[in-house]
């Protein structure tokens, strides 16, 4: 993943937040459809990734710490998506 400047990271985070807001505002999340939920939590992962690597500076941390936090993020989001999928069964 390329390194962005701090301000670029901030602008990307704002853009992703606007997209998530739009998904909510347009009522796209729901109607028993997986796609918007997958997109939304995929975007949340991208956001978390930027915060972890660039703001928390885990990009420059020992690999163990980087994978602990990113693993936490991936696992939590995956379980949320799994629960949503179960709710559609």
């Amino acid at each position: 993943m390329p390194a962005f400047s701090r301000t670029q990271v901030w602008l990307i985070l704002l853009a992703i937040t606007a997209t998530t807001y739009w998904i909510g505002e347009a009522g796209l999340s729901g109607h028993g459809s997986m796609a918007p939920v997958l997109a939304m939590f995929g975007l949340a992962f991208a956001k978390g990734l930027l915060v972890c690597l660039d703001f928390l500076e885990l990009r420059h941390a020992p690999a163990l710490w980087r994978w602990l936090v990113l693993g936490w993020l991936a696992l939590v989001l995956a379980l949320i998506v799994l629960a949503y999928w179960i709710s559609l069964r």
Binding site: V9, G30, W65, L75, S87
Partner: protein
């Protein structure tokens, strides 16, 4: 080539002077430090951060699975939440995190005045978050919602309330760091405490990044 000797976990105060930076002559000490993998902030606080992440993970996943049993109730209750307030608070936390990251970078350049201004910006963002959230709580309280209303609101109050406490604790830390930074306490020679406070503040942001789509948007 190392100014400091990293420990196995890579988190020790880098208060020592960088031999590498001095020897190379052209390198800034902070740049020499950045070359070695190092956890920014105090190891003890990072362990606390891991525990917080674990606690919130349990709450997030419990919310998601509790929802599978009462989908219509969760969707109906969520519809009463203010999406605008949730999104505004996301913007405030992200911006606060950006301010703190800029503060740390400024202090590493020995620009304490700029660093203190960025911290003030982060405090303003945190203050904005607190005001918006208290407004939301007041609205919910006025409409008779409490912990026992239903499962959704129980989780809503627990999750956002617990997160809110972390925002307040983070702001207290930032206020302390702001005072110290303004007095020029930190710089390229030592910004360990500032990095530690920053790590906690970014964690608060990271938690909200999961909380917002889960509680406010997913239906």
């Amino acid at each position: 080539m190392h100014g400091t000797t990293p420990t196995a976990l890579g988190s020790e105060s880098n208060g020592s002077h960088s031999v590498a930076g001095a020897a190379a002559g052209t390198h800034h000490p902070a740049q020499a430090q950045d070359a070695t993998p190092r956890l920014r902030g105090d190891l003890g606080v990072w362990l606390v951060i891991l525990m917080e992440l674990l606690t919130f993970a349990i709450l997030f996943v419990s919310f998601a699975f509790a929802r599978t049993r009462e989908v219509p109730l969760f969707n109906a209750s969520q519809a009463t939440l203010d999406l605008n307030a949730g999104a505004l608070n996301t913007v405030l936390l992200i911006s606060g995190s950006w301010c703190v990251a800029c503060a740390v970078a400024a202090v590493r350049r020995n620009a304490s005045v700029a660093g203190a201004r960025w911290l003030l910006g982060a405090l303003a963002c945190g203050g904005g978050f607190v005001v918006v959230k208290l407004g939301e709580y007041a609205q919910k309280l006025a409409s008779g919602v409490d912990l026992s209303t239903n499962t959704f609101y129980m989780f809503y109050i627990l999750l956002t309330g617990f997160h809110f406490l972390h925002v307040v604790v983070g702001m207290l830390a930032l206020a302390y760091l702001w005072v110290k930074t303004r007095r020029g306490r930190y710089g390229s020679h030592d910004c360990h405490a500032l990095e530690t406070g920053a790590a906690f503040w970014h964690m608060v942001d990271l938690l909200w990044i999961v909380l917002f789509p889960l509680v406010y948007v997913m239906r």
